[in-house]
Symmetry: C2
Subunit: 364 residues, 2 copies
């Protein structure tokens, strides 16, 4: 079967590009030391995770207990649930643990420490002020660590790295991320508290860290597929983006320079992550059906099941001819968000031939 035979919209994954992306981070971390604990929230797919785990210890990071269940059923036995634990998820975590799955949770406050009781925990460290966590120099860090019954160490996520505007800024953010957890771990060890795990992770910092000294594992997710947000901060090139949405031209408004497709925000997601970057890619960058970018054509607007393609200049004359029925492939702003709108990947390798269909999971 080839892409041309699919009903659109449909999610396309170029496995050659993905494998190169996986190899790139693997080689990078091999040079720096820490193991990789891939974050499966991007792909939510056993076939992808299997490839990420080659040559790695086998532990994964999840963002939902639905992911934990799915990957446990696939045989994964070491799972970090990297969203602060809530009381209504404790029974589920305990149930997974009873079934032999070593689930670790994260927390950043005394209430969570109390109700998590015997479950293994990492303390979340706030390295950049973007979300959760305890500051590495916070006076109450040691008190919190003492309150944790089964402490395994510390973790942080430099989410602010997505907003960096240069590779130098990402390098600095990676060092800030590293230092935050290493300092926190040192404070705990000084008090004879256990900190065997020192975990960092974000795709930008994983690719630009100069040192990961003192770090035991790196979490990264979007590195498998990359996306326009990552290309916009030079973590990858546009040609490294493995994920795209196949769409079909269904009409035009010729005077406006619009081609209209059947891939709206339901297929692309509402993510407008490049809106704040120097090059705004709308709802996605448009390629031909073989994946070659059409010069300057973006999805400039989207309704639920309609996408409007136009030249980024807005000039109707610069819009290429895309007759009704033409298939295009649209590179996403944010692979995690776009992937989540679909149930399966149609897997290709640099051509339009579909070599597999890989299911993905969703929900909670």
């Amino acid at each position: 079967m080839i892409l041309d035979e699919l009903e659109t919209p449909a999610l396309v994954l170029d496995a050659s590009i993905m494998e190169a992306n996986i190899a790139r981070l693997r080689a990078r971390l091999a040079g720096l030391g820490p193991a990789l604990r891939p974050h499966v929230k991007t792909a939510k797919c056993a076939e992808v995770a299997k490839r990420c785990l080659e040559g790695q210890p086998g532990g994964i990071t999840v963002s939902t207990l639905a992911e934990a269940e799915y990957f446990a059923a696939q045989g994964v036995r070491d799972i970090l649930y990297a969203v602060g634990i809530a009381p209504n998820k404790l029974e589920h975590v305990r149930d997974l643990r009873r079934r032999g799955v070593d689930v670790t949770v994260v927390l950043d406050n005394a209430e969570q420490a109390k109700f998590s009781s015997e479950i293994p925990c990492l303390i979340e460290i706030d390295c950049d002020g973007h979300r959760s966590g305890v500051k590495p120099d916070a006076p109450d860090l040691v008190g919190l660590a003492r309150a944790v019954q089964n402490l395994r160490g510390v973790m942080t996520h430099a989410g602010a790295s997505y907003n960096c505007r240069s590779t130098k800024a990402i390098e600095e953010m990676a060092e800030q991320e590293r230092r935050a957890v290493v300092v926190a771990a040192q404070r705990l060890r000084k008090e004879k508290l256990p900190a065997p795990v020192v975990s960092v992770g974000s795709t930008p910092t994983a690719h630009f860290a100069r040192s990961l000294e003192g770090v035991t594992e790196v979490r990264a997710g979007v590195y498998v597929f990359f996306d326009l947000v990552m290309a916009g901060i030079s973590v990858c090139r546009v040609e490294d983006i493995a994920l795209s949405v196949l769409a079909t031209v269904i009409g035009h408004q010729a005077d406006k320079g619009w081609a209209i497709t059947d891939a709206g925000w339901m297929a692309m997601s509402r993510d407008r992550g490049t809106a704040a970057q120097p090059l705004d890619q709308g709802y996605g960058l448009v390629c031909d059906a073989d994946g070659r970018p059409l010069d300057g054509v973006i999805v400039s607007d989207a309704n639920q099941e309609h996408g409007i393609l136009s030249h980024r200049s807005g000039e109707a004359a610069r819009m290429p001819k895309l007759p009704v029925g033409t298939m295009v492939r649209i590179l996403p702003n944010h692979a995690c968000a776009t992937g989540a709108q679909h149930k399966a990947y149609h897997v290709v390798r640099g051509s339009r031939r579909i070599e597999a269909r890989w299911e993905r999971i969703g929900g909670w």
Copy 2:
């Protein structure tokens, strides 16, 4: 079972509010004349559609052929697929028709007229310049209609009504929408071309049209649940919003006035539809677990599985105390987008008692 026993995030539907919303549009259209052809793209749920169809002819509007398949399996026999037809969907439409489902498609150009051959078609009319369609006074409308083998009439959608800033502006948009299709139908009939169907539809215009003379059916979708975008243009009140996302507080950044929950953009969607309205609701308006708004608290930022709650003023002192473990319900910007992130509704009626779980479908 009560809401407090759910793992979060989870989608909650208050059926009492929904039923009042359904009754409101039913009463309104009964006074104006046309039948309702509910757009099932909002709810994607048989239980909801059943309630919308009470007292109506039984036809529905869909945005995907996956919806058409699902509702055909539920016994619906009259389906308008309201996204311009693409060549790769023809076989699927023909297959549905062979199974006794009267699927009508829409089109706005000669290429589509050619490949649609015997399938019943509506010509899409552009009433507001927002997307697809032929202008009602376009010279080529009659030529296009002649090229359609099985013409059933005309349809339009006043998508621009979502951007109206007053009910007067919506009234005017409704009249513009009505006039566009009525004028187009008159032009066709003058040429002895068939136009038995004259179809309009958007939730704002359906609620504020003063006349629907010449219109045979109204399509509307989001009216069943409403959302903050609709409240922001006074089509409904905040208390008319039937849909919410149940979330749990997992931590705080007290100095910033943040409470952090386990409902991020995966649970809320990335839709920021209120960003362009006078009152920006962030990623959603926060209520207590009984659905009562917490004064001025919104989801001010979101990551994949984390939501940041804060007071809309940004003042930490104005943030209410929400201890770890507190459950909140978050009203969405856009019901269609938020619903699509979930697999089922947890149905309540003005209390926390869950009386049913209604599945919904997704994908294409």
